[in-house]
Homo-oligomer: 437 residues x 3
């Protein structure tokens, strides 16, 4: 039954691709709708193939079994570095293209489950970098993300790598991320930040006189429906990570996901309503998503009240982040992905270190006893969480910035101003989203 649970959860996560496509395309202009939809469509198969060939092996090639799934996998191998008697994992080196595990149901199910998580991370930058990203550069990025960047950080937290081993040097249970606030969302959000910095803002966004041009999306209903699809799939995202339908914690996880996303939506809605006097539906969508991002790491380790609190903070972070990035830092993120996934991802990872209440996680990362955050008595867990967040910010930002920098020099990341003015659909993609009758 555990296989069926993981697969059903994985199907729900896969469906989130449709949610991202709708949220992002709705927040973009009609002249770039094919391009935005196209990136969201193509990242899915592109990521899957890249992850199949290389990424899965790097990320989870070192795991020799998932206890919930039974039988061990023979071929596992993790490459590590030995420091002071401890061997810290760096990357997996087995199971590439699933060759050695083509007959092992556990490895196959985990491949599917891990692949759709990777694709969630990989599709996040397509929102922040929308309306100006050259399609070829995007395709190269898709391979980089699925084959190298995501798998490496993922290995460190979920594949037996060094961030998961920090408990061995006294830091709580090591970096704990139940379903991916840091592994998936922060990785996507930080990559989006680096990409947006390299790309620069859309033509006309920031004017010489200091004013900022609002560039409203062309289809708010798309964004709302996309948000619902994401919220739907998120239950699979979080509850699936128990890897078993028999773990009663799935109820806690699902309720926390519901409450945090709800609280995030209301916090963002009410905050903006109180400041600009209008109920901003788009911001409510992003608040809901921010709450979901933030509860993703702590969802199994906290109770309902903490979940709601985490959601409220996330909703405010989104509203604050979107405004600040644009006004203060002149970062042009058409959909708010950096705030929703990057900021709230970091907050979610830290929230484990603050609010984990000691009712779950006995034996997590090989450390005895349940996971406790600062409020429940273990400051070292917060340190482990902070190290994971700082590592993500430094490594993912550095690696992706370097990657985009190289691409910039080789093929270029950005379409020409002519293409951008005309819309990427007609000149870059060769077809329009809504051609006249």
């Amino acid at each position: 039954m555990a296989l069926a649970w993981i697969l059903i959860a994985g199907f729900l996560v896969m469906f989130m691709q449709a949610g991202f496509a709708l949220v992002e395309t709705g927040f973009c202009r009609a002249k770039n709708a094919v391009h935005t939809m196209g990136m969201n469509l193509v990242i899915y198969p592109l990521g899957v193939i890249g992850f199949w060939l290389v990424g899965y092996g790097l990320m989870l090639g070192g795991v020799d079994r998932w206890p919930q799934l039974g039988s061990p996998v023979g071929s596992a191998h993790e490459v590590g570095l030995t420091i002071g008697g401890h061997t810290f994992g760096l990357f997996g080196a087995a199971k590439f293209a699933l060759v050695s595990v083509a007959r092992d149901p556990s490895s196959l199910a985990m491949f599917l489950f891990a692949a759709v998580f990777m694709d969630t991370a990989a599709t996040i930058p397509t929102g922040a970098m929308a309306e100006r990203w050259k399609f070829l550069a995007f395709v190269i990025y898709g391979l980089f993300m699925s084959m190298l960047l995501y798998p490496l950080y993922g290995n460190w937290v979920w594949g037996g790598g060094w961030l998961s081993q920090l408990g061995a040097v006294g830091l709580g249970h090591g970096h704990v991320d139940f379903a991916g606030s840091s592994v998936v969302h922060m990785t996507g959000g930080v990559t989006a930040l680096a990409g947006t910095m390299i790309l620069g803002p859309r033509v006309g966004k920031f004017r010489r006189d200091g004013t900022i041009l609002a560039m409203p999306g062309h289809n708010l209903p798309f964004s709302v429906i996309g948000t619902f699809i994401l919220a739907f799939g998120w239950f699979g995202f979080n509850a699936g990570c128990t890897l078993s339908p028999n773990d009663p914690r799935i109820a806690t996880i699902a309720v926390n996901t519901l409450l945090a996303s709800s609280a995030g939506a209301l916090a963002a809605l009410l905050y903006v309503w109180s400041t600009v006097r209008k109920p901003d539906v788009g911001m409510a969508c992003n608040g809901l998503l921010g709450g979901a991002v933030a509860i993703t790491a702590p969802c199994a380790f906290v109770g309902p009240a903490s979940a709601a609190l985490i959601g409220v903070v996330a909703g405010l972070l989104v509203a604050f982040g979107v405004t600040t990035l644009e006004r203060r830092f002149r970062i042009d993120d058409p959909v708010g992905a950096i705030s929703v996934h990057g900021l709230c991802g970091a907050w979610g990872a830290l929230a484990v270190g603050l609010l984990a209440d000691g009712t779950y996680g006995d034996g997590w990362n090989g450390v005895a006893g349940p996971v406790r955050g600062l409020v429940f008595g273990d400051a070292s867990q917060l340190a482990a969480q902070a190290i994971g967040v700082v590592t993500n910010a430094a490594f993912v930002f550095g690696a992706s910035y370097g990657f985009f920098w190289i691409v910039e020099r080789v093929v270029g990341n950005r379409v020409s101003a002519e293409v951008e003015w005309a819309g990427l659909d007609s000149l870059e993609m060769g077809s329009e989203a809504y051609p006249p009758g």
Copy 2:
């Protein structure tokens, strides 16, 4: 496994929010698309938080265990009234904000499952009251519905309250509503009727010369896709109510849901086709939904042929109700929600009392023996069903009418004619659904 079943079913029900959003927005005009989408988006988190804080405790605070889910819950308490030696339940008084059951997986799973049912009821009036409802008044309504109105009637049928206890005074198994024809749909539809009466019709709908202005929705594809999403989620809605994947009745329930919704769609389509000579796709959507609403109460208690019959009647009721409400009673319901959910909800509840065939429900509401309707020999069951329907019509209508009446005097329910003419999106919401390039 029962937890996983309830949660998966609950996720499907949650996804119905996207279906309602699409159906309603598709049937409304483009100038109100942000407003309609916005209500459907916001009711979800708003209802969840209201239900978490208060509603769940009122509705299910008196239930001390769900047999399918195992362990009892210590804190249950139901407040009742003792009449002639019988104590009839009125409302629960425990589990508020989940505080006392924050560690109980059964209560948490049931909270999620019950919350998404509540949100289904709560989102129904947003369709009937669309295109003219002040957003602030809608938000206040959302709290009233999720915290008070829905939980009270819900308690009487599902939380151990007095309608479920009518068997003790000889009325069959008491009011039996398997998955919510009366609890969810009729409650939503009746509230929609009261709200629509207080709000009045859209400006220009009913002309002085007695003619009625057709106000076609702006996106029929949205309504069709929303219908499919609702039909998809409905399988979780109905089959999930077994609370167990091991009850073989889930097959009967799913097939009945399929047949009744199909029969409803065809009946409505053919009826309108035969009268106005065109196949009305929007009416087929509403017929499908009406059939699904009607089978929701009896889905576990009847066989396939009865399910199809129930669906046919529902489809005709929808076609008849939509026309009659508008032409005869001058009620302006842009999406047909009052007929689909109110009329068909009442019909579904009564259908249990007519057609329950004595093959299921042994011990339901504490009464020995299976549930039988009038046709299968138990007229008293029909009486219990009718009492539930009349109670819903009287209590829900009265309470919601009173609520809207008070809101009318305090903040007002309706936007100004100026806002309505311009469209609620630009003036009430501050953003447009489809801004030009």
Copy 3:
């Protein structure tokens, strides 16, 4: 648990109706959007009722039990023809309207599962025949498909009929189609071909001077989202066919579905990109669907690498087929359904005969030992696959061509040129998809 698994899988397959509706409507013009959506909406309930009354009995009335589901069904009866001592099944003759099995959970669950598969096949021609099909003729077709055509071929492969019995005359395990490449997709695609030939191309498509008018669809985002919904539901389609969540092969099946659809999308994208210099998002959608169609028959019998290969071939077949049908054969298929479902369906069925690797299928169709294709040593399996494909091409094409020919003479298949020019929505359906404010 097996019932719950089949039902959940069936719900996912049912949801594919929304995917077809979006893909097809997105690829059609705005003036025919109500008509295209309407066909996709109505085929669902229409097919269900037709299949309930007649089709299910013809198709699966001869099956007396599904081993995974337990208890035998008493009423099964298959009508066959005895040739040379072997009795070859032709059609079932029991369980009509579910009357004799109204209390049997296994039969009911299998009815729902089989009905949504039938509806998948039945909705395929609505794409190829879109923008010119008279609604009444379409309704008649819906009954023909769900009551007769699909059930007959389905019986031969899945209901105990003669194609499944070819093992008895030495042809491998008989025709093996795990989840429906031939039964569902090729049947739909071949019927679409016959219908398109009878209907003829859309007015203005093929000009007298030999040039071809591009008629781009009106909403590419719809098509992309529809593709994601189909890809999501496909996991239920393929993995559900184990009829049990406890068969560890579900992991293989799901991964193969993921890899083949991904490989198909990339192959089609890259092929077109390399030829016309633009990344064609619509073609990537169709490539993804083609890969999914092709892996549907072999998904349980091959490993990940073969799945990717099958997907690559399918993606190329789609790109080639769409172009060739239009340019060479002057077949006007607005959505590419004939190539995606017909060509790739045939390829998928043949792929079993080529690449089945002998790791699964022991006892399939009553033949001992696992299923092996030509590459793994059993040429006779390829023969059985080819016979099934040729039978489908001959029987389904002939029967549907004959059916459309008769309808042509009785009510006519095609709307008038006047209606077609104006758009089917305003004159045939009586309502517009996107009426002005």
